[in-house]
Amino acid sequence: MKRIMSVALGLSLALFTSTVSFAAETKIGVVVKIGGIPWFNAMEAGIKEQSAKLGVNGFMVGPTSADPALQVRAIEDLIAQKVDFIGVVPNDSKVLEPVLMKAQAAGIKVITHESPKQAGADWDFELASAKGFGEAHGKLLAEKMGGKGSYAVFVGSLTVPLHNAWADAAIAYIKANYPNMKLVGDRYGVAEDLDKSRSTALDLMSANPDLAGFMAFGSQGPIGAGRAVEERRKDGKVFVVGPFSPGQGAKLIKSGALTGGFMWNPKQAGEVFVTLADRIAKGQAPKAGETIDGLGTITPEGNTIIVDQLLKIDKESIDKLVSMGL
């Protein structure tokens, strides 16, 4: 019994010394949607690197499933831990409202990402505006098509607000700047389904011989359309643009069936969490016209900072993106 006690005591002492606390450092806890997926692994790398650079204690908390209830619990624990900043990428903005307000009441500053106008947040930052993101894709497609011919638009579903906002911006941009380009049909809500995207693209190519471009917003749309183009051996004649997971689309990008697209960089988002927190901790609240690392020159609207820090996915950048595990 005595021996067990002494072992237990020794073990706990060892644990104690290994977790010496950093009392004076700014403590930043970032709660993300779910832990262990490539997107948030990249974000964690960003948080860690930037924290080391700025000499603060930044860390990420990744719940085991995308259940908003788990995010509430993680935030409650961060409040108990008396962190200085809480960063959140919300699964559900409404669920987090009360607990974020509780954090603010405890004197903790809250920074959110991908959740504009979040109640309970001191600051929110977005690395892509709906308009900028849509227009970037519209411009890319128009340039590839040489400003003429017809094109079709896929979205994840007609009820996904973000996808449709992107599509609106892209179509408006093309209409205004490239009047010779023609939109085929209405937009098709197939872009979260690989097979549906592929078959819709095949049908559209058969029905419209002058079709020269696809723009797809939704995780599987660009891949599906790219496969259709590859099957018909139309690469170089029909162009496919849209945001997609680099790892999944690497092969199609290299063969030329998939032209490219834009995304924002989760690693950069992780860095911005830490940079913003560090600045606010030093009493430099973000102001219009300032240039911040990772965000560029900012013009906050209320407490929301929206910038267009887009990352191009194309033949040149694909290997680097894939090696980041994205």
Binding site: T19, V95, P98
Partner: protein, 331 residues
């Protein structure tokens, strides 16, 4: 040592041993390892997080004691929450008067009770295994909820609802107080009522209970109805805590409630188990998860450690019962 064990068993019951030892171990290890663990903040955090999981565990407990299981608890809770949310919406949303909220709570409780009664009747009259029946019920309720809400969430509640999830009364979190009341009710129900006695008998041996003249069907229906009502209470707390209702809220709690009940010494085959050890087990699980968060450990590690804790406690329990038999033989 031996007299201490006997004394402990006499005062708290033998099934309290596992959870209490785990409790002391967790307090000691985290108290020493994380300098900010033994603070008011930590216990505040634990006290606010405990109730939603705790209420669902209570809802799981009664069916487990009858040798069954209720897999539909989280969806029953959310559907009850939805019923309450709709009543509030129908009476003006954020401006709904207090009377509307009372009515909303009644609607939630009735929804929970109805879902529970339906499950109970299906189990009692078809004699199908509770896993099958409640699994079907879970899929049905989930589908129904998703159909009615189109997978979205319902929100916009009056300001006085929020304190039920986040407020304090006399320094104690209101959700914790509600949870403690429910624990007390369940304790009295199991130890002092005819229904409590009957459901434990059913858990021990359904046929023997039947032949002894117990109306087993009625008891099974009642047990699942009560489980549904407890789900509704959890649903109301979740509505207030999450400021919205969605079918998927708290989905991840389902299996943890089973874990908490078994950790609290409930016999997996039914018939034996008490409320208080389960309560202590819940506190231990929450302390473990909050403590690991406090130390900045990975969340996936916390899940793994819950599993390890479970295995260790079960092994310890087996060893203890062997030890008991061994000493008895000697004497």
């Amino acid at each position: 040592m031996k007299t201490f064990v006997q004394k402990f068993n006499a005062t708290f019951g033998a099934d309290m041993g596992g959870p209490v030892i785990a409790f002391i171990a967790v307090m000691l290890i985290f108290g020493l390892a994380a300098d900010n663990f033994l603070s008011f903040g930590t216990f505040g955090s634990v006290a606010f997080q405990l109730p939603e999981l705790g209420l669902l565990t209570l809802a799981m407990l009664l069916p487990l004691l009858t040798g069954g299981i209720n897999l539909s608890i989280t969806f029953t809770a959310n559907l009850s929450g939805l019923a309450a949310a709709w009543v509030l919406q129908a009476h003006g949303g954020a401006d709904a008067p207090l009377s509307a909220f009372v009515f909303a709570c009644v609607a939630a409780l009735v929804t929970g009770a109805a879902a529970g009664a339906l499950t109970g009747a299906a189990i009692a009259y078809t004699r199908a295994h509770p896993i099958l029946v409640t699994l079907s019920m879970m899929i049905f309720l989930r589908g129904l909820g998703e159909f009615l809400t189109r997978g979205g969430d319902v929100s916009g509640f009056p300001a006085y609802v929020a304190p039920i999830g986040h407020g304090s009364f006399l320094g104690l979190p209101i959700p914790l107080l509600i949870f403690l009341v429910c624990v007390a009710v369940w304790h009295v129900l199991l130890t002092r009522s005819k229904l409590g006695f009957g459901l434990l008998m059913i858990g021990s041996n359904m046929d023997a209970a039947d032949y002894s003249g117990l109306n087993t069907r009625k008891i099974v229906v009642l047990v699942y109805t009560l489980s549904g009502i407890m789900c509704a209470v959890a649903g109301i707390i979740m509505l207030a805590r999450f400021n919205s209702v969605r079918v998927g809220h708290g989905e991840s709690y389902l299996l943890i409630t089973v874990l908490a009940a078994f950790l609290g010494g409930v016999n997996p085959f039914g018939g034996f188990g008490r409320v208080l050890p389960v309560f202590v087990a819940l506190v231990v699980l929450q302390l473990l998860s909050s403590g690991l968060n406090l130390m900045g450990a990975n969340q996936h590690l916390a899940t793994a450690l819950w599993g390890v804790l479970m295995i260790v406690v079960m092994a310890a329990r087996t060893l203890a019962s062997h030890y008991r038999i061994f000493t008895r033989k000697k004497a």
